[in-house]
Symmetry: C2
Subunit: 222 residues, 2 copies
């Protein structure tokens, strides 16, 4: 069985790889709040495991092997199931779930995972709209685009919020930008300026910087 630490590295590498195709040392170190040499060491170990979880090229970075990707998706599945459980069964808000899910994801047996999934009706999205890999690690394809890409006058349904900082999630919730809410872009300031959006849920308008609108995703099937 993999240690918690290895599982956390797998997740970090998975995310980085899906952003930019590669996971380099400093990006992993950043993501995990760990020093660079710790990452180098761990990458070597993970590449030396039987079977290897990553392929590692010094000075370039790491990529998941099929075995590594399978394990990563399993951890991500458990993480997202746990988040969903915490919100739906224990009444957490979407900004409260991350730290607890990050520990629970390493403490689950196959039985626990199955039972949690069944209890929730085999959910396909977590509280942030992230896809939950199925038992076999499969993810659905979906079409969405960042809120930033809408032009003034366009509207759409929020399908996912990729903001990692809890404060941002709490703020968005407070102003009525939750999953499945329809938003309309009223104004889009030039020079990478803020977007003014209207929430159908709260009925109020808010100006949001692109740091945030880049992380709010809208159903592309307009």
């Amino acid at each position: 069985m993999l240690t918690s630490s290895v599982e956390n590295y797998l997740k970090a590498i998975y995310y980085l790889q899906h952003e930019s195709g590669w996971a380099n040392t400093s990006a992993i170190a950043d993501h995990m709040t760990v020093a660079n040499p710790s990452v180098t060491m761990m990458l070597k170990r993970m590449a030396a495991m039987q079977p290897p979880l990553i392929s590692y090229t010094p000075y370039e970075g790491a990529r998941l092997t099929p075995a590594g990707e399978k394990q990563a998706l399993e951890v991500i599945r458990v993480h997202r199931l746990m988040e969903t459980f915490l919100v739906r069964v224990l009444g957490y808000t979407w900004d409260e779930v991350h730290a607890d899910a990050d520990r629970l994801e390493h403490a689950s047996s196959p039985l626990l995972i199955e039972r949690i999934s069944a209890l929730l009706g085999d959910p396909v999205r977590d509280p942030h709209g992230e896809d939950i890999p199925d038992r076999n690690g499969l993810l659905p394809n979906r079409s969405e685009l960042p809120l930033t890409n809408l032009i003034a006058g366009q509207s759409g349904r929020i399908t996912r919020v990729a903001a990692d900082r809890p404060e941002i999630l709490r703020y968005l919730g407070e102003i009525g930008l939750n999953l499945d809410v329809t938003v309309e872009v009223l104004e889009k300031a030039p020079f990478e300026g803020p977007l003014t959006v209207h929430s159908s849920e709260s009925g109020s308008d808010h100006a949001l910087g692109r740091e945030i609108t880049n992380r709010i995703f809208i159903d592309a099937a307009h």
Copy 2:
């Protein structure tokens, strides 16, 4: 925060201390399936912590300090809440809960604990009839006696089953010896022989060795 390992030692020491007043090195080693020198090392560390979790006398053993007992009761509280959750919410049987609870007990935040407890209605007993310490680590007093102590003709309600091996729990469940079931002692063989008992639940009779009847507890308020 304490490591999982330290939390497991705390539990082991708590149980041994409540059986015999002391927790000596080999007993702890046995209980934890760990070698003796590992225990000696850990006891030294736990006694050196700030505040100390145990008092440790070389060649004699360990005892929990008040701080250590508080922490131990907290871990036990979480363990038993998790067991209760696994049975009541996820449909585990009482013989399936232990290993999972043993991992989950180390992965819980104060919020998680409160929410789980609230979801279950602040339960006071776990699926084996063990008392769940309350938020402040307080345990109720209760009066019970081992099934072994009943004489032929006497009957009583099962309040607790302290069998640790899952196979025993599964067996007892199968023959209808569950919590709150009323049992009658039909026969008690001499020379530490078996007890023949009748279960009101299954309506059937069974001969049980004293290894087992010593671990089944009966409400003493006959």
